[in-house]
């Protein structure tokens, strides 16, 4: 689902932004464990980063809003582990393993963990980029029921290509387990007035990182 509560850009009502002085990386030990389990299970390659995001975005809206960040990570991780057959609902209820685990392609070792792992998402391009910096484009009016990285506030809007960022894994496909489906990625900038109407401040511009299938020539 894409038109869900996670797509928050432009919403009202959440109040002021409150920063916490001297905030620690984790507020409680369990947050660190959730963070680490998420990273370690992501390393196994059983799902993609976009599949992981989709599992958070499809949490029920009330659950999503009521949960803290790492609570959401935990709920998404549980959901994904069950969906991939790695853990059973009965095991979550029992709080222990009731049967042997599946065989993984790879498992994060202590040595792996000592070396920071940063994945790359750029891929060889099958065709030349359709747009270049300076091109006027319009975002498509897409409302897929599956994962997308085109936020609602930036759909069907006229903008300008500012930069070509290379060819990358296409999240909309990867989240479905449909492979990398590499697509060109662009920085597309919009005047705030195009996004929010004529009362918006003319001194503000907003950009998104837009994959080529989101764009048409304007």
């Amino acid at each position: 689902m894409s038109n869900t509560i996670h797509d928050m850009g432009g919403m009202h009502g959440f109040g002021p932004v409150v920063a916490e002085p001297h905030e620690p990386p984790f507020h409680s030990a369990w947050e660190g464990r959730v963070y680490a389990m998420q990273r370690a299970m992501g390393f196994t390659g059983m799902w993609t980063i976009d599949g992981g995001r989709a599992s958070l975005e499809t949490l029920p809206p009330l659950t999503y809003l009521a949960a803290s960040y790492y609570e959401r990570w935990f709920l998404g991780l549980e959901k994904r582990l069950v969906a991939h057959g790695l853990v059973g609902d009965d095991e979550l209820a029992a709080g222990r393993s009731l049967r042997p685990g599946l065989r993984l392609n790879r498992k994060l070792t202590l040595e792996d963990a000592k070396t920071p792992q940063y994945l790359r998402y750029d891929r060889p391009a099958a065709a030349a980029a359709r747009f270049k910096p300076g091109d006027a484009v319009r975002t498509r009016n897409l409302n897929p029921t599956t994962h997308t990285r085109l936020p609602r506030y930036a759909r069907d809007k006229r903008g300008t290509v500012e930069a070509v960022r290379g060819c990358h894994v296409f999240p909309d496909s990867a989240a479905l387990g449909a492979g990398d489906d590499p697509q060109w990625l662009y920085t597309v900038a919009f005047a705030a007035r195009e996004l929010w109407g004529e009362d918006a401040d003319p001194a503000i511009r907003v950009s998104i990182e837009a994959f080529e299938p989101y764009l048409i020539p304007a």
Partner: protein, 209 residues
């Protein structure tokens, strides 16, 4: 924070102990099944708490302020420039540096979740992941900046970067006045995390004493 619970909020105490139990149970299951090594999890947590953080970004910015050729490379290809810096693990990927000028102030958000340049800033703070910041940074960036106490000349252009892909943005704040001849080490002390997200400015020499 409207949508976040904190362990020191007493009213959420029972909820959190339930989370502690559930998280412990899940780690037990994953360990028993051979999916995770608890020692590797410990290491990941230690990395997040001690190895990555805004001190890395601060050194990148201080170098950019001091060395025009490095700044040129950073703005052209931040991944390459940061990974080539001596003393850092070559960890950045898809990193893009954007420069504040007297004309343009940059601010970074991820409206869809929490995309953030971990390799140079560490884990994002709670406010960056909050519903208030994610919802408002794109529609009311000036209001958000004023809540952070950022005062800019009225004719400054504001540029918001919504991190909707794997590209990650690092703001290069403006170098404060009165820092001519400073060493990179001293300059780095002026570079705050918020100044590299765009919700702050670099400190002035008087602020660090």
């Amino acid at each position: 924070m409207a949508d976040e619970h904190h362990p020191h909020d007493d009213q959420h105490g029972s909820e959190l102990s339930e989370m502690q139990l559930r998280v412990r149970a899940l780690e037990t299951i994953l360990t028993e099944k051979g999916y995770v090594d608890p020692a590797a999890l410990d290491q990941l947590i230690e990395n997040a708490e001690t190895r990555i953080g805004p001190h890395i970004g601060a050194r990148v910015v201080a170098r950019a302020w001091s060395a025009p050729e490095f700044k040129r490379r950073l703005l052209e290809d931040a991944t390459e420039a940061v990974n080539a810096l001596a003393g850092f693990d070559p960890v950045a990927a898809h990193l893009i540096a954007v420069e504040n000028t007297p004309q343009v102030h940059n601010i970074v958000v991820c409206t869809l979740c929490s995309c953030y340049p971990w390799s140079v800033l560490g884990l994002p703070p709670v406010w960056y992941k909050s519903a208030s910041y994610r919802s408002r940074a794109v529609i009311d960036p000036k209001g958000v900046l004023s809540e952070f106490g950022v005062k800019l000349p009225p004719d400054t252009q504001i540029r918001v970067w919504d991190s909707t892909a794997e590209t990650r943005f690092l703001v290069v704040p403006m170098r404060p006045q009165g820092t001519e001849g400073w060493s990179e080490e001293d300059l780095a002390r002026l570079v705050t995390r918020d100044s590299m997200v765009g919700t702050g400015l670099a400190k002035s020499p008087g602020e660090i004493g």
